[in-house]
């Protein structure tokens, strides 16, 4: 029901196709032009020209799908401005509520981006693991929402904790593989990335779409997914007890 509501709510904005279409078109223009001009069409790492173009085509789409802002993005504001009571009274776990809302938005985005998705599939061709992409998009979305949710919960304790969410988003932009494939980083960085949740937001789903997914990555994904859900939930349950109503810190 919540998912359905979020789906309709997202699509009913006037001229809704214009924004995403403009953004995706612009990103393709910038990224594809950059990679082909800056590399002078030479291979970079183990990526040749075609590989990098396919990677960019998918990563731009995937990042836009797994990072839908949703209600979670406003959680910090709700807490800071004392509007959280309406959520505290819900006969439902708030994280589950936000996740359902996020899924609705993800479905709406997939619907909006479907011409682009079909275009990329047509251009890049299908891969043996493409059928797994929806599951990985969902996992990426859940990890991202839980991360934002957990950081937003800190607003119960610290004023302006939304800054942490912005820092997380800035880091995700770089460390998720949305801007540059993570396997182009030095090996030391790649080892560190294994322990961070960012790669599941863009890099891993893109690998799945391109058919270069390693099944061994499935277990770490599950561990990260479960850990993020648990951390977000525990933080919410513990910190929401210190809610003091309007403007906690004044």
């Amino acid at each position: 029901m919540i998912t359905q509501y979020a789906f309709i709510e997202t699509l009913r904005v006037r001229g809704i196709f214009v924004g995403p279409a403009f953004l995706i078109g612009l990103l393709y223009l910038i990224e594809l032009s950059f990679w082909s001009t800056a590399t002078n069409d030479n291979p970079i790492g183990h990526y040749n020209r075609a590989d990098i173009i396919h990677y960019i085509l998918w990563s731009v789409l995937v990042f836009q799908l797994t990072t839908v802002a949703g209600l979670t993005d406003s959680l910090s504001e709700y807490i800071e401005e004392g509007q959280i009571e309406r959520f505290l009274l819900l006969p439902k776990n708030l994280l589950v509520f936000f996740l359902q809302y996020g899924v609705g938005q993800l479905l709406a985005r997939i619907f909006l981006f479907s011409p682009f998705i079909l275009g990329v599939i047509f251009f890049s061709g299908t891969s043996p693991t493409l059928w797994l992409l929806p599951a990985f998009l969902l996992a990426g979305l859940i990890i991202n929402i839980c991360f934002t949710f957990a950081l937003s919960c800190l607003t119960f304790k610290f004023r302006d904790a939304y800054a942490f969410v912005i820092i997380k988003d800035t880091l995700a932009w770089m460390l998720s593989g949305a801007l540059i494939p993570l396997d182009l980083f030095p090996l030391v960085f790649q080892r560190v990335f294994q322990f961070l949740p960012f790669q599941y937001v863009a890099f891993m789903p893109t690998q799945v779409a391109l058919g270069i997914f390693n099944w061994r990555s499935f277990i770490p994904l599950l561990i990260v997914l479960i850990s993020m859900i648990l951390i977000a939930n525990i933080l919410w349950l513990r910190l929401s007890k210190s809610n003091q109503g309007y403007s906690n810190h004044d």
Partner: protein
């Protein structure tokens, strides 16, 4: 005007004092942004395909241009567009429409964000340090500063136009990070060629924000480019104001 500016500055100082944590966190956010960009270029420079694309001097000038432009924008213009967007979305623009002042100017001076003062000062120091390091002439430093100021105004004008789209639809502003400027300003002029370069120079002129200034200072200074940036800046300020007027007319029709 002066009185309004004084009130605006006092207001922003008081906002900054109200939340000292925000003061440091804003600096931390921007610092993360530059670290992310630094990592991007660091990774690329490790691969042979990129060797010769930008020399070290060019990278330094490009980085300092981005940092100063971005921080000046955030300090002076960053919040004004968002304030306009908020008021249009919640139908609370009417009160301000009755004020006997230029509204875009009013929004700019009343939303100066002192939270970004630290990194603006740091960027300015970095700017002079890099010029000192590269033994730049006073003329080059002055021209670079002028180019950065013009670039900041270009960024502010395009962002204002982008925020003004709320008068017609929320479709664009509701999509997170959809402001085209911030996607283009982190790439040098050489990243784009052919039709794409022309698009970003003359249709969505984001390359005049940092790409052209860094190129003119680090590679070769060409007067026609400098004049082109000035012309684009003036045109965009006029366009931003005109679109705002069109928007308020539409707002008036919808609200009444």
């Amino acid at each position: 005007m002066i009185k309004l500016l004084k009130i605006g500055l006092q207001q922003s100082m008081s906002m900054a004092k109200k939340s000292p944590a925000n003061f440091w966190l804003s600096a931390l956010i921007n610092l993360t942004y530059y670290i992310a960009q630094g990592m991007f270029w660091l990774v690329l420079n490790q691969h042979d395909s990129f060797s010769g694309f930008m020399n070290q001097r060019y990278i330094l000038f490009f980085f300092v241009t981005i940092a100063l432009t971005d921080n000046l924008f955030l300090l002076i213009f960053g919040q004004s567009g968002m304030e306009l967007e908020r008021r249009v979305k919640t139908y609370k623009l009417d009160v301000h429409l009755l004020l006997p002042v230029n509204l875009p100017f009013y929004y700019v001076v009343t939303t100066i964000s002192m939270h970004h003062a630290i990194l603006t000062a740091v960027s300015l120091l970095a700017f002079f340090f890099i010029h000192w390091l590269t033994h730049s002439s006073l003329w080059l430093i002055t021209v670079h500063l002028l180019l950065i100021v013009q670039g900041t105004i270009v960024l502010a004008a395009i962002t204002w136009i982008y925020r003004c789209s709320t008068f017609w639809s929320n479709a664009l502003v509701n999509v997170r990070n959809s402001n085209p400027c911030f996607k283009v300003l982190i790439r040098p002029l050489e990243s784009f060629s052919g039709v794409v370069r022309l698009i970003f120079l003359f249709i969505i002129p984001c390359l005049f924000i940092t790409g052209v200034p860094a190129f003119l200072v680090a590679k070769s200074f060409l007067w026609p480019w400098f004049l082109a940036q000035s012309m684009v800046t003036i045109f965009l300020v006029w366009l931003a104001n005109w679109i705002f007027i069109l928007g308020t007319q539409r707002y008036g029709r919808v609200v009444t």
